[in-house]
């Protein structure tokens, strides 16, 4: 038989190449999306600059940038791993992207790995930008980088689990609304820019258990106060990560 243009030559690309291509595409689409950039870059940057420059909330003793930067870093992680990922994945599900990719050579776990890689790449870019701005504003961080890294990784896992759970179970429009609402509520109530001691004790006890509070509090303990491993915050994040990822794995619907 002669060889034609379409003569079958089927085969999957090597797995690392597929995952890299998938992660690159998702990152590119995210960085090109205006609404996503608003959440992941513009809002954290504005809050950091605005609240460092203007004394709007009482951030306690010391420079306000030292209080704010850890909170803003936590917000950046939440905006990408939770809000951004939930909205993007919700619409990918709605428009049949997840379905179409499910019949491609890329296995489902490969797609999820690529999504995680895309989230991590975006977070690295956010952290580079935000720390550069913070240093320009006179930030002087302390503490153990390993503890910071562990907090960021566990925070990402916790928020990813919750974001994917939302994206995989709710309608895309509901995910869009809920993810933005949660972003706003946790921004205010999760120790990002408003110190937790501004809330009544009863509310504080509950709010302290939120993943955003654990992440911002843990980062603040280390970066502002030079604490060692913030085990209690790491523990809270670990529980959220396990519960969120397990629930997402169990309830996620691909179409």
């Amino acid at each position: 038989m002669s060889v034609g243009t379409y003569t079958p030559r089927p085969g999957a690309a090597p797995l690392p190449r597929m995952i890299a291509a998938q992660a690159a595409l998702e990152t590119k689409l995210l960085l090109r999306n205006g609404e996503q950039l608003l959440l992941t870059v513009v809002i954290p940057t504005l809050l950091l600059v605005l609240f460092s420059a203007v004394d709007i909330v009482d951030t306690g003793a010391g420079k306000s940038v030292d209080f704010l930067t850890p909170g803003i870093l936590a917000l950046a992680v939440m905006s990408t791993a939770f809000t951004g990922q939930a909205i993007a994945t919700g619409f990918e599900r709605r428009y049949g992207v997840l379905k179409r990719l499910a019949s491609s050579p890329l296995p489902r776990w490969g797609l999820m790995t690529a999504k995680t890689a895309s989230v991590l790449v975006t977070e690295v870019l956010q952290i580079i930008l935000l720390t550069a701005i913070a240093f320009a504003l006179g930030w002087s961080p302390h503490g153990n980088p390993a503890a910071v890294l562990l907090l960021l990784v566990l925070g990402t896992a916790a928020f990813s689990g919750l974001g994917l759970l939302m994206a995989g179970t709710l309608k895309a429009e509901a995910t869009l609304a809920a993810a933005n609402l949660v972003f706003l509520l946790l921004l205010v109530g999760g120790g990002v820019i408003v110190p937790m001691d501004k809330f009544p004790q009863g509310a504080q006890d509950v709010l302290d258990l939120l993943p955003i509070s654990a992440l911002s509090d843990g980062l603040r303990d280390v970066l502002q106060h030079g604490a060692g491993m913030p085990w209690d915050d790491l523990g809270i994040l670990a529980v959220w990560a396990v519960v969120g990822l397990a629930a997402a794995g169990r309830f996620f619907r691909w179409e």
Partner: protein, 326 residues
């Protein structure tokens, strides 16, 4: 030697055809699929050999459910499905690189450009087609920097088609590939399906366009309400069982009664409009001869004599009593 050579080659071809015959590309047996209380597919059997197979039926007949079960998206409630000899759910990793899938709609990031998405799908395959050539071929070059959500329906369809073939699959599933396309785009899609077939790619396509099945398919399976109601080549389906029609024109007011007497008992003959006659019944060479000799006896020159073949549309109507597009 000279005499022996051609038969030997012939035998070789027969052998190869026999091997192809022995392993269908798709084999569905007694498939049942329910959604809640609704039974979408109700004991369906489908065997597709290499070539182009059309699955034809009205909306809601179970076409998409059947195809999506073959693609590994749905688990059968009962029955077995084998695609290229593999279980589409349990052996998905093995199967997916070998098939190409065109969903009925969507499947593309709303913010991605056509070429970007196509290049991405190409990267997931070991030995993909030349993306630029494919873009050219399907007229997607004009999409430029437009993102998917702003492409026209026809452009979206053609992109989905391109995504299904870019990985050089052995078997392509096309779910209503020309729904909503303009005539030129439809023609381009048909040409591509023909080229795929020529180059040895098997195609399973669902459609509710009769002419599409007649034009493209080696085999047609007509389904309705989740069951197969007819199966065969377009020619077989159009011939089998269906009564045909013979029409001719002559001078007005011929004695139809005497024609009727000359015809077999179960035939009909009417003058539809003055000078235009229709004979209904099993139209075979004998019947044609009877009509022409009757004309000769009556000194009639039958103008524009024609035997009308039934279309798949007629077959479908006869089988279900329903309009196909309902």
């Amino acid at each position: 030697m000279e005499i022996l050579h051609p038969p030997a080659r012939g035998a070789d071809r027969v052998l190869r055809l026999a091997t192809m015959r022995s392993e269908p590309v798709v084999q569905v047996q007694a498939l049942v699929k329910r959604y809640g209380t609704k039974t979408a597919v109700d004991g369906l059997d489908l065997t597709a050999q290499a070539g182009v197979t059309a699955v034809l039926g009205p909306n809601g007949a179970g076409k998409t459910t059947t195809v999506e079960t073959c693609e590994g998206y749905r688990k059968p409630d009962s029955g077995t499905v084998r695609v290229l000899g593999l279980d589409p759910v349990r052996q998905a990793r093995e199967l997916h690189p070998r098939i190409g899938v065109m969903l009925q709609s969507g499947g593309v990031y709303s913010g991605a450009r056509a070429d970007e998405m196509l290049r991405h799908v190409a990267k997931l395959h070991a030995d993909p087609l030349d993306v630029d050539e494919l873009i050219e071929r399907l007229g997607l070059g004009g999409c430029g920097r437009t993102t998917y959500r702003r492409l026209s329906g026809g452009q979206q369809q053609r992109l989905a088609l391109a995504m299904a073939v870019v990985g050089r699959p052995e078997l392509v599933f096309l779910d209503e590939p020309t729904a909503g396309l303009d005539p030129q785009a439809r023609r381009a899609t048909w040409d591509l399906v023909r080229d795929l077939r020529t180059d040895g790619v098997s195609v399973i396509l669902t459609t509710h366009h009769m002419d599409e099945a007649e034009q493209l398919a080696d085999d047609v399976t007509i389904i309705d309400a989740g069951r197969v109601i007819a199966h065969g080549s377009p020619e077989e389906l159009c011939r089998g069982g269906a009564e045909n029609t013979l029409r001719f024109s002559g001078r007005p007011g011929l004695d139809v009664g005497s024609l009727l007497k000359a015809l077999p008992a179960d035939c009909t003959a009417v003058e539809l409009t003055p000078g235009s006659y229709r004979v209904g019944g099993k139209v075979d060479p004998q019947l044609l001869a009877t009509v022409t000799s009757w004309c000769a006896q009556h000194g009639v020159m039958p103008d524009r004599i024609s035997v009308e073949r039934h279309t798949l549309e007629d077959v479908f109507l006869e089988l279900t009593g329903k309009e196909l597009r309902s």
